[in-house]
Amino acid sequence: MSGLAKRSAKFAWPLALIAAAAVFPVVFPNPVVTNYGVFTLIFVIVASAWNVFSGYSGYISLGHAVFFGSGAYALGIAATDWHVTGTATFALLPLTAIVGALIAVPFGLVALRVRRHTFIVITIAVFFIFQLMAYNFSFTGGSIGVSSPFLPWQAATYNNPFYYIALGCAVGTIAVAWLIRRSRFGLQLRAIRDDEDRARGLGVRAMRVKLTAFALSGAVTAVAGGVWFFYLTQVQPPSGFDPLFDLSVVLMAFLGGLGTVSGPILGALIIEPGQLYLTATFTNGYLSEILLGAVFLAVVLFMPRGIVPTGGEWVTRMRTRGRPAITPPAPVAADAETAEARQ
């Protein structure tokens, strides 16, 4: 296969998936189904954005709801204060990205000074600070929250514009995640994940790299929060700053494959519709949370690397029928000991 043909084949699958996603509301116009689509795409955005920072760098954030909630509140407060109404409110979405990035910088400057478990604890602490602020500040509306401007759209097709906005954001986020993974910046993030001190010793400005990824991830998550808010028409402290939000996003990335581009997308496509279905089907509101925890346990125990990496290994093993996928190179000096042992 020529290089051009290989490259075309490489992009064929993503293009086919985007085309399928684009015609989804046409094929399934039922608002109940498109509602699933909107929420799923919002979580595709969030899981991919989370993965750009946490998956690539290895810093597991349980505080991304800070950005999600802040994006929602920023959009609502800005629309109310500036008297922006109707579809013009969508023009405020870039503002949510700026708000997310601006919050991420001081948040990151504090949290990214520490690593591993301490980092996770700090992100949780910051999350609760933001939730408490949302409850107690007057401009956030206290426990009542903030409502979005009214949209005079037909009920039957109300979901569709949100679906396409979410799809556009999701495609953009995935493209950015893919480009970052292939870039020098992405390589530095993955080097930090493997051994941060060693990376610093090879010239990687670790704090700058981590903070940039954190701000980018926060900005995109805030945009997703803005879309989510506008879709639901209101935000309150427990919904905007929801502790289960972070657990769901982490589970999506772990289930699909942490640090891969496609893993978090797959995880979101499985987890979010599943959660929505369980919540809608069973009156016991906690069933989806119980199952969420059970799935988390199962993933950690039986598939710790996630579906995409594990599935990839299975496919390779089947293709090669147990033979090594790459022919081992001829022994060099480093292999001399092995070569000597063979003799």
Partner: protein
């Protein structure tokens, strides 16, 4: 010969343990300098202080005439000092080629070519697509040397390059160091393999209890009484002989 790397009276303590006690070491430009001493004498701590992994309590570190005391590791690397570790530290979940590209300072197309050349040089180019975590210990040593080289540092600090590897690989590593030194690279090498050090180094500095006890050419260090005392544990105070002429 000018001095390229110099530590001047460096002190470093961990709690009550004095790891470096006024340590002054000089590395001449274009030389291979060995840093030897018994376990716990402060060799790796000195490496850590030079490369910014540990902060000196007092004293100074200079690269040429530039003061680099307590500079961050990334800055030290950018200034031209690369190092390897006693226990190899590679990026296990990156491929061998990706490991090389982390340290590269060149543009996208140039750095890939240069990285492959360095892998060819150390002899592991055939593994470039493999995950670094799948390499043998010896191959990891070579990879670590290669990815330090890819950024073309002025001074290369090697922490036990011959430790835990077989004889043929020791010779392979020694040959690569000689070639690089002939091309103008300066080395400071911590090593316990005396044959390796004496056969490779132009100068040898001996540390004991965080201080320099002797420094000079290998032939003189080999017979220095203080060096023998440091390794064999004899008490200098009980010795009435000449303490040595090359301090």
């Amino acid at each position: 010969m000018s001095v390229l790397l110099r530590t001047d009276g460096v002190h470093k303590s961990y709690g009550g343990v004095r790891a470096l006690d006024g340590c002054t070491v000089e590395v001449g430009e274009g030389t291979v300098t060995g840093l030897i001493g018994p376990n716990g004498s402060g060799k790796t701590t000195l490496f850590n202080v030079i490369t910014g992994y540990a902060k000196a309590d007092s004293g100074e570190v200079y690269l040429a005439d530039r003061r680099i005391t307590n500079a961050a590791p990334d800055k030290v690397f950018a200034l031209g000092i690369g190092r390897t570790f006693q226990l190899t530290r590679i990026f296990a979940r990156l491929t061998v080629l990706e490991n090389m590209l982390v340290a590269s300072r060149h543009g996208r197309s140039a750095h890939r070519k240069q990285a492959m050349e360095q892998l060819e040089f150390v002899g592991i180019a055939g593994h470039h697509a493999a995950l670094a975590g799948t390499l043998s210990y010896g191959q990891r040593k070579l990879l670590e040397l290669a990815y330090v080289l890819v950024a073309d540092p002025e001074v290369i600090l090697l922490d036990e390059p011959a430790g835990g590897v077989n004889l043929s690989l020791v010779n392979h590593i020694g040959d690569r160091i000689r070639e690089l030194n002939a091309a103008g690279k300066t080395f400071l090498i911590v090593e316990h393999n005396m044959e390796f050090v004496m056969g490779l180094c132009h100068q040898v500095t001996v540390l004991d209890s965080g201080s320099v006890v002797a420094a000079g050419p290998p032939d003189i260090i080999r017979t220095d009484r203080r060096v023998l005392d440091a390794y064999l544990g004899e008490d200098l105070d009980e010795d009435d002989g000449d303490p040595g002429e090359d301090a």
